[in-house]
Amino acid sequence: MSPMLHSILAFVQTWWVELLCAVLIVLVVPLAASYIVLVERKVMADMQARLGPMRVGPHGLLQPIADALKLLIKEDLIPDNADQFIFWLAPVLSMTAVLTSMGAVAIGPWFQVARDINIGLLFVVGVGALGPFGIVLGGWASNNHYSIIGALRSTAQLISYETAAGFALVSGFLLAGTLNVRAIVETQRTDQAWYVFLAPVGFFTYLIASIAETNRVPFDLPEAESELVAGYMTEYSGFRWSLYFLAEYANMIVVASVGTTLFLGGWLRPFSNVRWLAGLDAAPTLLLAAGGAYCVFRAGKQPARVQSMFMWAVAFGCFVVAVIFTLALPFSHLPLERMHDGLYGAFWFLLKVSAYIYIFMWLRFTLPRFRFDQLMRLGWHILIPLALVNVADVGIALALSSEFGINRWVAMVITTAATLGAAMLLLHWNDKYSAAASAALLADSSIAEDTHAG
């Protein structure tokens, strides 16, 4: 055996778990992102009392695959005026930044590409922050007025809310005392509290900022269809467009994972320290079995034979995974038992991430869009100072409970009340201020003539 082959083998032997995770993430996350699109369309349809996609596969379950195929073979245009190389590079950059930041996210205690890197979430946030480059470069390279206005708006929005999100994350790091993903979750286990309960203002600031960072309603100004065609994506078609789209939805997964890890207890089961609630471990099996039973029930009612076969296949998959979950329970005395933490951790983590993403969708179909100046005012005038005050207050709460022995929940309630008082003051000042600003804006009508005013 040649020495090179030998060293490659040794390398694979050392890192095979991580490499497997890497391949799985690259394969599964784009697929998951496209299925989130389907779920979103279904949720939208449900909220608007209609059916949503129903044609491709049973209940439209194969729609994302059909869409992906369509986009892959669709005509691929690069406008003559565009900067060819940057036009090509921008969507690739967006996608790469988002997927790379998935590398440090831990889906359950076992499933993580970069194990135990001590910068953990800082890596996720830092690499994820490269995403706006893809957007601003794409908008600039398209050489289209709509694109550039969309790109400028988008960049201004993303960087404004990134600051607020950063401060909100600091309040969580104060409680966790580490950036390492695994250690953050373990600290929440030993603290016996998810940090959303100890730093509620931090969590909600992060929630709002993360919606803005993923360009979603009510902050979807960059893509405001009625004003800017499609914002920075106007000139993009086919697979390049779908790269931007995938990047946006994968980014939802990333921000939801960060929020879940830091504030919602990561892969911990709810009440993970309460012995008599250990029955919650049966939840994944029961949920999957119920899903499989529903598929069996629906299989007979499908109009075509292919569709009912597909339903049977889904049901079979559900039952197999349910059996795996059952065999991994600690009393089964099977080799699978060693995978218990990884499997159940992944289940709870993904459940929380799904709930987080569901909130995004729910808001999308509930709220109207902000105007651009309102959006920037919310970010700069309210969220950033609020997040700053919250960092100080969480610090004070921790110091109070460690120095003076005050119960941490009491300290939390006092400081949260202080933070909310600060928020009320900010809102009050801002109302007075914005009334004056609107009056000034109405008086100065020359702004409306500036086509690049964003």
């Binding site: 890192w15 790469t96 194990r115 007025h145 550039i148 404004s160 950033i384």
Partner: protein, 124 residues
């Protein structure tokens, strides 16, 4: 480079390969492009663009970018403090842990109020 970063490096290469390889492979698999020169004009709702897009932009965007630079660097200063904070509290150094950062946040707040008064935070 610490060994834990090696899989991360390979992962980022793999991630980069995903869009690049798909773009290149499907360039040859998809049907060719048809259509006249109008198709390659910028899409501005059917109206031919009269001005270049490489023009002047609303200056507020530059201010926003500058403020972002400043504030995000402040965030980075807060990260190591936040990580070490509970260790200091455990060592009963609460005053040492809190006061310097409060001075820092205070300076930041003064600058923020100044920006607010100057109207640098309004994009309208």
């Amino acid at each position: 480079m610490p060994p834990a970063y090696i899989p991360l490096l390979l992962f980022s290469l793999l991630v980069l390969a995903f869009p690049v390889v798909t773009l290149i492979v499907f360039k040859y698999l998809r049907p060719g492009s048809r259509g006249g020169p109008a198709k390659f004009q910028p899409y501005e709702c059917g109206i031919l663009p009269e001005t270049s897009t490489r023009g002047r932009y609303f200056a507020r965007f530059y201010i926003i970018a500058m403020l972002f630079m400043i504030l995000n660097v402040e965030t980075i200063f807060l990260f190591p403090w936040a990580v070490l904070f509970r260790g200091w509290l455990a060592a009963h150094l609460a005053a040492f842990a809190l006061l310097p950062m409060f001075v820092f946040l205070g300076v930041l707040l003064v600058g923020y109020v100044w920006l607010y008064k100057k109207g640098a935070l309004d994009l309208a």
